[in-house]
């Protein structure tokens, strides 16, 4: 077990924020803390986690408390990123992170915890989950996992200026969709985080592998629209080891040592961008989302570590150097 820099969050800060969040949670506010509603700010927690060997459940519990997450009695869908798997790379959400999330939501009293993913490139979702170590790391994985590419579907309309789109019914039926993404650069979108991770709820059985429909409509429009479609969400971004350069598949591992959590996916992703040295207001899908939610720094209530304490500039491909945070 490595040293625990997570304790760098002072006890006073943690207790203060947790108390405010507890009030909000008690009032039944799952999406944002009371303080956030009062100030119009979205709470985003940054937790240090230098490796996958630390007590991730403890880190996540702190993050959940800081954000006022309340899930008792809810049907929760955990949505990891498993667009592809390569044992020599860091494409997917780490199994330890997903397993810790299952433990956290059990501890928080969720009524049902499902895990769902619709991989974007490979068709065999069960195989990818096996290779990624999910089955070995997560108790009762077989009864929890849903291949969202081949799930039943429901139509959502309108969608991104088009007539509509079919989405996985398991995701639409969940009380809370928890996007558990890895912190990665993306060669078409600049960065892929909790919002872009929602592409996995679009069924490949209808739209194919890859889900070219989303590219034809426009990646940014679709990301922003999926964000709008799922109002009850929570984000947990695995930035313990992220991916830089030619992500989301062929980039290189980049240790960042953080978990970033919050109820507002756009606010979480904007925070992740700042940690990665990316200007979130230059990421198109965040610009589109910003019309509805908080992306600007002054609109986010940063809890836990500050961005400055954990900033780790990620390498960007030439096509995206213009999004570098100055």
């Amino acid at each position: 077990m490595e040293p625990d820099p997570g304790c760098l969050i002072t006890r006073r800060r943690f207790l203060g924020a947790a108390a405010a969040s507890a009030v909000a949670a008690g009032a039944g506010c799952a999406r944002r803390s009371l303080a956030a509603y009062q100030t119009g700010k979205a709470a985003v927690a940054i937790l240090r986690a230098p490796s996958y060997g630390v007590d991730l459940v403890d880190r996540m519990a702190r993050g959940a408390a800081l954000c006022g997450l309340q899930v008792r009695g809810k049907r929760v869908l955990l949505k990891p990123n498993l667009v592809e798997f390569d044992r020599n790379s860091v494409i997917h959400t780490q199994a330890e992170v997903l397993a810790a999330a299952v433990s956290l939501f059990e501890r928080l009293g969720a009524r049902e915890i499902l895990i769902g993913e619709g991989p974007g490139h490979r068709r065999d979702a069960w195989f990818l989950a096996e290779e990624a170590g999910y089955r070995a790391a997560i108790p009762n994985f077989e009864s929890r996992f849903v291949d969202l590419n081949r799930d039943e579907v429901s139509r959502v309309a309108p969608f991104a200026g088009n007539a509509g789109i079919y989405l996985a019914r398991t995701a639409l039926a969940a009380d809370l969709v928890v996007s558990i993404a890895r912190m990665k650069t993306h060669h078409w979108a600049g960065a892929t985080l909790s919002m872009k991770n929602l592409f996995g709820v679009v069924p490949g059985a209808l739209y194919g592998w890859p889900k070219n429909h989303l590219h034809q409509v426009g990646i940014a429009k679709c990301v922003a629209e999926l964000y709008r479609t799922f109002p009850h969400t929570f984000a947990m971004v695995d930035g313990i080891v992220g991916m830089e350069g030619n992500g989301p598949i062929q980039g290189l591992a980049r240790s960042c040592g953080v978990l970033v959590m919050g109820s507002d996916l756009a606010a979480v992703d904007a925070t992740c961008c700042r940690v990665m040295g990316i200007d979130p207001e230059k990421i198109e899908y965040l610009r589109l989302a910003a019309a509805r939610r908080q992306v600007r720094e002054q609109s986010i209530e940063q809890r836990g570590e500050t961005i400055a304490q954990v900033r780790t500039p990620f390498e960007l491909i030439p096509e995206f150097r213009h999004v570098r945070l100055l």
């Binding site: 068709r123 979702a125 069960w126 081949r150 059985a205 209808l206 194919g208 592998w209 070219n212 429909h213």
Partner: protein, 288 residues
């Protein structure tokens, strides 16, 4: 091999839904894709299970000639190709079959459109491929990808053998060239791109097997080496779906499936895998 096939067919019959179709997993609602594969597997029997499934499949054809993907979705689907292959295999080349073929022949990848070709001409290195070689998309209005192109090619080849006026030679030739153009540097195929932003992409086993099956002995492929690689990949990969397609490819070209390990039912009991392993591809798509 016969024993394995019979086992697959028995599992399929046991998993048939009351509406006559098959879901992707036992007990799940019927979709066209697993239903078409299951019917291809059961096509030589033509028993009650086949008849119930055939009746459902026929009812899912749309006015445009394409097939819908499931009862609740009213839009043309790429697995129309599978429905057409099934018609050819059963020898039912009627008006419904012809309408389906007409739809398939009017469907093409969007990269062949003028604006897409101009964009590609301006920025050729973003995704390296020949936009003049259109295959088939997953859905209307999208670009061509390996899997739907492979299935469309197989459907057309089967149809050519069944119909008197096969005037689709140029479409077949262009699609073959499209597949060859998208071949990865490692000799296989991934979902459809070989090189993006200057970086080579790796191939996938299942799409490699499908592309080779669709290429039907094409002279541009060094078949001995390609099939040896398929055999090696079959031994190495643990994906049941990939192994099903790789063994189907070997069955088509070498006449026998490699011995399949015991089925791992923890992998979601995937009916697509069961059906693909139950199809006699060497009879359906005999290499020329």
């Amino acid at each position: 091999m016969e024993k394995c096939v019979e086992s697959c067919l028995a599992r399929l019959e046991a998993a048939q839904n009351p509406d006559g179709g098959w879901g992707y997993f036992p007990g799940k609602p019927s979709w066209l894709e697993p239903t078409a594969y299951a019917l291809l597997a059961l096509s030589h029997r033509r028993g009650p299970a086949f008849e119930r499934g055939w009746h459902l499949l026929r009812s899912w054809q749309m006015a445009c000639g394409a097939w819908r993907p499931c009862a609740g979705v009213d839009q043309p689907h790429w697995s129309t190709s599978l429905a057409l292959t099934l018609h050819s295999v059963t020898g039912i080349c009627d008006a419904a079959f012809q309408r389906g073929l007409d739809w398939l022949l009017t469907s093409a990848g969007a990269e062949g459109r003028t604006i897409a070709r101009v964009v590609h001409w301006l920025c050729p290195s973003i995704v390296e491929f020949d936009p003049g070689l259109a295959g088939w998309p997953w859905e209307s209005g999208a670009s061509s990808w390996v899997e739907p192109t492979a299935h469309a090619l197989m459907a057309l080849r089967c149809a050519v053998r069944r119909t008197k006026k096969p005037d689709w030679t140029s479409r077949i030739t262009v699609s073959e060239r499209m597949l060859l153009d998208r071949r990865c540097r490692d000799g296989g195929w991934n979902y459809g791109n070989r090189r993006v932003l200057g970086a080579d992409l790796p191939s996938y086993p299942e799409t490699t097997a499908l592309a080779l099956m669709a290429l039907d002995g094409h002279a541009a492929v060094a078949w001995g080496a390609a099939l040896d690689q398929v055999k090696r990949t079959w031994r190495e990969t643990r994906s049941p779906l990939a192994r099903a397609w790789l063994s189907s490819c070997l069955l088509m070209y070498r006449g026998e499936r490699p011995q399949t390990a015991e089925r791992d039912d923890r992998t979601g009991n995937d009916l697509l895998v069961t059906a693909i392993e139950g199809i006699r591809w060497n009879q359906i798509l005999a290499a020329s």
